[in-house]
Symmetry: C2
Subunit: 504 residues, 2 copies
């Protein structure tokens, strides 16, 4: 535990460096900051792959078998063993080579994207693909290369299982998008008036505090790309960004990051400083950001309480705008080019596109050179819109240009699916209390339920185990589809699209 | 160099942690932050005392003798050898014991000071004294215990030399204070109107930028106790604090920290990431904060340019206040209880008091139990004011309550002395250019001169060597005394007090 704690402290220090880099660091600090982070990461990695740690783990094997499988100690041994074995499979030289390449690629991407210069990064991306395949080959027990990366961020999940979930979603979402497109577009001009930042900040932080985010154990700052970061059990920070001509951007990114932060702030204190002091997986983490952003924060009951407060904050802009108009504006569905700006219905289609393309790349069914065309074709097919440049196409997301290709997208959709399944279970058990509180702008019953069932356990359980424990059944897209259909059928009068009645 | 760089990166990361702790860290992060810092410091210390480093240094000894003594490489070897040998003399167990004690003492002091509870910390301070003597005994080659600590922060300096400098100063300062006390007090009410923080910040940062502080490679934030901290060559940050009822506090602490920052920002880039990438000593560093704060920032030529700008910033408060009234207010001399709030004339008397008391403690000529009474007696003798409590007396400064007793005060007065000696040399060589620029609010000639002579070299030279190189003669109190006498004779019409004509 002492060894692991030392590693943990190095990683937490890196988090302070990352937070600072994205919030307050002056431009002149950038170059040194990268080397400082690289050094600390390297020291942490060296300590984690130290064979002495392996010998301690070996010595603990008999104990592990004797421990109650549900105990924290058993979970710690399971996860550390798993991560240690994974890390030991990858040669140091490969780690260094890949890190150097990704650093070069990322730099090239930050320059190529504004200039729309696909050719500048294409050869580097080809090298990334080779490195990703090489990395995957260190873990030949997996079915296909993508599984290696998925298993890292969403333990227990596979590309085949994702594919099945995506198929079920797609059967409902594509016709739903088609049906919505047949309607006249929603008028969301009320969101695009002038909204001074100070009022946005005050309102967003007020809601975050109502959700239960503890500002004594966290803080919110500005960053170009919003994120949540944990520096310690008592120091979980969020960031947001504002646009004065778009009220939705800042508000919903605050609520999204608050969801992530509630998870981390409510992990049980006895797990602080242990290897379980983090969320269970990318998907489970995202389930909480989506739950608090969308299932709560874009719901009618939420705004029945908060809209009058928002009108008080922005009387000039909103006094004449009805709750219904506002509610429709924040839930407007409109196929667009940019994933991070997509609505609840089209969002997952952006994810599926990326998932299928990276799977095809890794399985050598698609060449990097053909990626832009494949992107455009799929956008046309699924969303009916096509980027006229690479910037809003294949160069759009940071993910493929800062690390291995694979595994970083499925978590977003898993989060949507799990979030709805968790929320449905919470409502089934605590519905009246949750709704009664929400009408008063309070969320104690919901947060307490989530803390007891999910948050407090941190990274203890495998996602599949956690979902079964919390909802009594395996992962299923049904709650999510039911939620979308109920909500958007009402908003867009889509009586013809039914769950279990796939169109297309 | 690779080993040293790794250590440097750990220490720079600690600096980010310290900066954050003092600026933005939420209260809940405090406990974990201490352990994170302790871990990183421990790792850096273990790497620095690794015998493998010693073997590399041994292997380089022949090279060192062959190198030009003025080369960077020779200086790096000299300083690393010196620090390595020092570190190896102190057993690990002692380091851990002392760190644990100081952490406990600091905690006790933060609670005892507001409650004026001397007895609560007295036994802990006695243990500090024992630890300090024990530490000093690891370095028996020094004349007396205090020398060990002085040599650490001001290499080459000794208690005996300080004593001599202090005697020379004291002979002039005590009668000067007496003579000033005989005058009616200066009216400084103009500083104590209501000054909104935003205007103070804008004006202070404007001056810092005029001094040449590069905000692209640094930033200023609020902190309870102002400080400068270097995170990288391109990331040198300052902090300040404001009081809306006292214009001087925020403004002069900005100018003070800017002086420290100009030093660090202008160290030659080829020394970045080497063990020379820092100021030459506590005293030399302080010479720059004092020079920019006092010799420039409290001078008449400075305010002849900037006072109209300050009046524009605060027209309601200053439009009716003359430059002369303002200039006299910011240079008011008045014996007071608190070191950090003392004026240029009385400040050094506060330092001498602490220096003499810590020397007496270390030499077992004074018992900790008798410290409060010794403090009061000396305050009465030198300043004619006596604290009515411990808070403003022996419990006043953090220094004795957070580390070894000894060596942390003399640098402040050394800074005053050196600052005047450097400034005199700069004026002798570049006087007309410096003055012409200052009349236009510009400082390029002065900063360029200081950069060329002092800043660019970082920690390369011993302070005594540096002073000789820069000013052509050894350290001397004369320039400082001449500065004080010229300035304050004019302000207070003290025709009778002359340099070299000690009163008392």
């Amino acid at each position: 535990m002492q060894r692991l704690q030392e590693i943990d402290h190095l990683r937490r220090a890196v988090n302070v460096l990352i937070w600072d880099q994205n919030t307050y660091m002056p431009p002149g600090g950038a170059a040194a900051r990268s080397s400082h982070q690289a050094t600390l990461n390297r020291l942490a990695h060296a300590k984690f792959t130290d064979p002495a740690l392996g010998r301690l783990l070996d010595a603990l094997e008999p104990l592990r078998e004797a421990l109650p499988p549900d105990s924290d100690e058993a979970a710690i041994l399971f996860w550390v063993r798993r991560d240690y074995d994974r890390s030991r499979r990858v040669p140091e030289a490969f780690v260094a080579r890949a890190a150097a390449h990704f650093s070069q690629l990322f730099q090239a991407w930050t320059e190529a994207r504004p200039q729309d210069d696909w050719q500048a990064v294409r050869p580097l991306l080809e090298e990334s693909l080779r490195l990703s395949q090489e990395f995957a080959a260190f873990f030949p027990e997996h079915q296909e290369p993508l599984d290696v990366f998925i298993d890292h961020s969403d333990p227990g999940m596979t590309a085949a299982r994702m594919d099945e979930l995506f198929r079920e979603l797609r059967e409902v979402l594509r016709p739903m998008v088609q049906a919505i497109k047949a309607h006249p577009p929603v008028d969301d001009r009320c969101l695009h008036q002038h909204y001074p930042v100070e009022g946005q900040r005050a309102f967003g932080e007020m809601v975050a505090a109502c959700y239960g985010y503890d500002f004594q154990q966290g803080r919110q700052d500005l960053a170009p790309h919003p994120f949540m970061i944990k520096i310690a059990q008592g120091d979980v920070r969020i960031t947001t960004r504002y646009r004065e001509d778009d009220l939705a951007i800042g508000l919903f990114s605050t609520l999204h990051e608050t969801g992530h932060a509630l998870y981390e702030q409510n992990i049980h204190p006895r797990l602080a400083d242990t290897p379980l002091d983090h969320g269970a997986s990318a998907g489970v983490h995202e389930s909480q950001s989506r739950l608090w952003e969308n299932l709560v924060g874009r719901s009618r009951p939420f705004w029945e309480h908060f809209y009058p407060r928002l009108q008080e904050t922005f009387p000039d802009q909103l006094a004449q705008v009805s709750l219904e108009t506002f509610y429709r504006a924040i839930n407007k569905v409109q196929p667009s080019l940019i994933r991070t700006e997509a609505d609840e219905v089209t969002y997952n289609l952006h994810i599926m596109l990326r998932f299928d393309l990276e799977r095809a790349l890794l399985n050598q069914e698609l060449r990097v050179a053909d990626l832009p065309e494949a992107w455009r074709a799929r956008m046309a097919e699924d969303l009916g819109v096509v980027p006229s440049n690479h910037r809003d196409g294949v160069l759009q997301d940071i993910h493929w240009f800062s690390g291995f290709i694979g595994g970083s997208f499925q978590g977003y959709t898993l989060g949507n699916i799990m979030g709805a399944q968790f929320f449905q279970a919470a409502m089934a058990e605590q519905g009246p209390a949750i709704q009664e509180e929400m009408a008063q702008g309070r969320f104690d019953a919901l947060r307490t339920w989530l803390t007891e069932r999910i948050y407090q356990h941190g990274g203890k359980f495998l996602p599949d185990t956690l979902i079964e424990r919390v909802t009594g059944r395996p992962l299923s897209v049904q709650p999510y589809l039911e939620y979308l259909q109920r909500k958007y059928s009402e908003l867009y009068d889509l009586s013809t699209v039914q769950a279990g009645t796939p169109g297309d």
